[in-house]
Amino acid sequence: MKNSDERLKAALKKYFGFSEFRSGQKEIIDNLLAHKSTLAILPTGTGKSLCYQLVGKISRKPVVIISPLISLMQDQVEQLRFAGEKKVVALTSALPFTHKQYVVNHLAQFDFIYLAPEMLNKEELVAALLKLDLALLVVDEAHCISKWGPDFRPDYLALGALRKYLHFPVTLALTATATKKVADDIRKSLFETEKISVIRHSVDRPNIFLAVEKVTSQNAKNLKLIQLVKRLKTPGLIYFSSKKKADEIADLLRQKTRLNVSSYHAGLSGIDRYAIQQQFMRGKLDIVCATSAFGMGVNKKDIRYVIHYHLPADLESYLQEIGRAGRDGGQSIAVLLYQKSDADLQRSLIEKTLPENEMIQYYMDNAQRLTGRVGEQGELLDYYRKQGLSSEKIKQLFSERRRDRKSNLSEILAYINTVGCRRDYIKKYFGEKSKSQHNALCCQLIGDQIPFEQLALTNSEVLTGSKVSQNGGYNRIIKKLFNL
C-alpha cells in the first residue's frame, strides 16, 4: 500500500508538479484506480479535475469528460494544454462540421475528450466512443442532471443510458454542491442500483466570511457597493444576473473609484474574454463584474471577495460562486446585496423559463409545426414529447419543477433573513451534521456590521492605479514581445 502511495505521489509530482494531494483527491483517485465508480461532492477550488487527469495519465487510456458549458470545457482544455497535455480536445456544437468529423474519425488519438452532452445525440460519435478502451467516464457538474437537467440540458438525463451502452465504464460524477436530494437524483439517474462510492466533503469554507447587506433601493445598492469595493482588499469578483447591469456597474465603479474594473460576460468577443481573464489572473485588474459565464474554469487563488449584486437562483449556485474566493486559504468575504424587489426578478425568471399549462397544451397540440421554433422551452418540451410522455405528465413535471424552483428561492431568502449563524444555515441545508462554532470571523448576523478591521480585509495598500495601461509605445511592446 505504502509503495503504491509513493507511486501516486511520484505521478502527482511528475505530471502536475505538486508534492501533496489536497483533501479528498487521493481517496477519489484510489477508488477509480480500483475500478470503483464514485460520486465526489467537493467544494469548488479543491482540485476536482486533477483527479481524473491523473487517473488518465497513470492508466494511459482515454478519459471522456461530459461537461455542461462550452466556456468551462474550453478553459479546462486550455489548462490541460498549459500543463503540457497535447492530446486533448473539446467536441462541442461550436466546432465547424469538418473539424467535428475529423475529431470523431480520429477519436482514439486523444487522451482527454471533453464532450458537450448534446453531442451524444450523434450516433457515429457514440459508436466511436464504444470502440475506445476507456480509463474513465467523467460527468462534470453532475448536479446538472438534477438541477439543470429538467430546465436546460435534457441531454444530461440521457447519460445513464450512455453508461449502459458503453458497458458501464468506471465513472466519476463530480459536483461542488449537492443536497441529499440532488445527490440521490445523480445516483438514480447515472448509476441506478449500482453500488458506488460517495465521497463528500463539507461545503463549508471557513476562511470565507459570510455577509448579507440589505438595501432599500437600487441607488442605495449602488452606494453600498461603491462603499464596499473602496474599503475591501482586492482582487474581487462581483456577480450579476444580467450582462447589461454588469457593464453598467463596471462603468460606475470606474467613475467612482480609482480601481481597475472590467466586465465579463457571454456578450464579449472571445478575444476580449481572454484578455480580461488573463489580466485578472495576473493581477492587472482589481475587479471583474461578471455573469455566471465567468469563473467555472478560473483558477485564481487570491480573490479576496465575491459580491452578489443580484439574488442567485439558489444556495447551490451561491455556494459555487462564492467558492471562487480565498482559494489560497486566506481570509476572504462573500457579500450578498439584497433588495426586496430582487426576489420578484427571480420569480419572474422562473415564470419565464418554465412554460405554463396552456403553453404546454398548445405546444403538444401543434408539435409538428412548432418543433424548433419555441426556443429553450420548446427544446425541453420536445425532449419530453419524444420520450413519449403525455401532456398531463409533462404538465406535472413542469409544475413540480416550478415548485422546486420556488422552494429553492425561499431557501435563499431564508438564508438572507436567518437570525442565526449563516454558516450553520448552509451546512444544515446541505445535510451536514457538524455545527460551526460561531464567532466574529464566521459570519455577519442579522443587524450586525461587517468587522472589516478584524477580518483584516481593509484595503490599506496603494491601489493598482492604471496597471492595464502600462503597456507603453509600440516600439517597447515589440521589443518586449520578441525579447529583442
Partner: protein, 346 residues
C-alpha cells in the same frame, strides 16, 4: 452613425441601398457599377455583417437631423450641415485607410492568425511552452501549428519584430501604439478594445476599425514583401477582386474564347456570362472593352451620350438604336467612368 456621411456627396445624388450593399459585399453588377460611380467601390465588403434595419435607421436619423436630404428616387444628398458634420467627425474618429484590402483578404481568419502568430512566436522567443493560448478557432490553430512546424528553424522573433517595426514606421505614431496594445504574448497581456478606447479619445468602434484596418494593411505589407511570413498570408489573399465564378469566366474570356464557347464550357446562361464580364470590366484595369463594343456601337453611344454619366438613360438608347444591348450600354458607361475618373463627384 455620422461615419456613414462619408459615403455621400453634396453634388451627386446617391442611393443609400447601394452604399449598404457595397459595404456588405452584395455583388450584383448594378451595385458594383454604382459603387464605382460613387467612388466607394474600394469599400466593398468592409462591413459584411451590417444589418439592413440598423443601416436604414441610421440613414433616417441622418435625414431627420438635416445632415442628408432626400432628392427623390430613393436618393440623398449631403447637406451643408452634413458636410460640416462629416469633417468634424473625421477629425475626431478613425477612418479606415485601406478599405480595398478587405475585399481581397479573408479578414477574420487573418486577424485570428495574426494574434496567434504573435503569441506563439513571442512565447517561443522566451523558450516558454506553458501558456494559455489566445482565443482562436480550431482552423486558426491548425494553420498556425502547421506553419510554425515548417518554419520554426528560422529566427522568427527577430524577423517578426523587424517586420512589425518596418510596417509601423509608416503608420501614425498613436495608431501604431494602439495597434500593438491589442496583442498578447510572453508576459504581455492585450488590452480589450473598450480599455484602449477608455485610454484614448477614440470610441470602441474607432479602435475596432483601427485594428481591422491596420491588421489588413499588415497582411498586404507581408504579402507584398519577401519575408518568411508571406507564405502565411498568401493563401488568404485573393489575387483578383473578382468573385470566384466571375474570375473563371474572365479567365476564359482573356484566353480569347468567344462568348458562345465560354457559355458552354462554364455551363452558364449567356446573361450570367455577360454579368461576369461586366464585373471584370469594373475590376480589371486591363479589361479589353473593344472586344465587346464594335466601332458602330461606339459611334452610336458617343453620339447619344455626353456629360454626366450618372444621368445617361438606356431608354434613350433603346428608342433610337434597339440593337445595342443594355450590357453594351453599361460597358460603355464603365469605360467612360474609367477614362473620366476625374468626373466622379465627391
Amino acid at each position: 452613425m455620422d461615419e456613414l456621411l462619408y459615403f455621400f456627396s453634396k453634388t451627386q445624388p446617391r442611393r443609400p441601398t447601394v452604399v449598404r450593399q457595397v459595404l456588405s459585399n452584395k455583388r450584383t453588377v448594378s451595385n458594383l457599377f454604382w459603387g464605382m460611380r460613387y467612388g466607394i467601390i474600394d469599400w466593398l465588403a468592409v462591413c459584411p455583417r451590417f444589418e439592413r434595419a440598423k443601416f436604414d435607421g441610421e440613414i433616417k436619423e441622418l435625414i431627420r437631423r438635416g445632415r442628408l436630404i432626400e432628392t427623390g428616387d430613393r436618393e440623398v444628398l449631403l447637406t451643408e450641415t452634413g458636410v460640416k458634420q462629416c469633417t468634424a467627425f473625421e477629425s475626431q474618429h478613425y477612418r479606415i485607410k485601406k478599405p480595398a484590402i478587405f475585399g481581397a483578404l479573408k479578414t477574420q481568419l487573418w486577424q485570428e492568425l495574426l494574434r496567434l502568430l504573435v503569441q506563439v512566436i513571442s512565447e517561443a522567443s522566451y523558450h516558454n511552452r506553458r501558456y494559455f493560448v489566445v482565443a482562436s478557432s480550431f482552423q486558426a490553430q491548425t494553420i498556425i501549428k502547421r506553419w510554425y512546424k515548417e518554419n520554426r528553424q528560422y529566427d522568427l522573433g527577430r524577423v517578426l519584430g523587424e517586420q512589425l517595426l518596418l510596417f509601423l514606421e509608416n503608420v501614425d505614431r498613436q495608431h501604431a501604439d494602439i495597434f500593438m496594445q491589442l496583442f498578447s504574448g510572453h508576459d504581455v497581456i492585450a488590452k480589450t478594445i473598450e480599455q484602449v478606447a477608455a485610454d484614448t479619445n477614440y470610441s470602441a468602434c474607432d479602435v475596432q476599425f483601427l485594428w481591422e484596418d491596420l491588421s489588413a494593411s499588415l497582411a498586404a505589407f507581408l504579402y507584398n514583401g519577401s519575408s518568411i511570413f508571406k507564405s502565411l498570408v498568401a493563401p488568404l489573399m485573393a489575387s483578383s477582386r473578382l468573385s470566384k465564378s466571375a474570375a473563371a469566366t474572365y479567365g476564359l474570356y482573356e484566353s480569347g474564347l468567344p462568348l458562345s464557347t465560354i457559355k458552354t464550357k462554364r455551363r452558364l446562361k449567356e446573361s450570367t456570362v455577360i454579368e461576369h464580364l461586366l464585373e471584370a470590366a469594373i475590376f480589371v484595369p486591363t479589361f479589353d472593352f473593344k472586344r465587346l463594343l464594335s466601332v458602330k456601337d461606339y459611334y452610336v453611344l458617343r453620339q447619344l451620350f455626353q456629360g454626366n454619366i450618372d444621368n445617361w438613360s438606356y431608354k434613350k438608347l433603346e428608342s433610337v438604336e434597339p440593337t445595342v444591348s443594355f450590357a453594351k450600354f453599361r460597358l460603355y458607361q464603365i469605360e467612360q467612368t474609367r477614362l473620366n475618373a476625374d468626373n466622379i463627384s465627391d
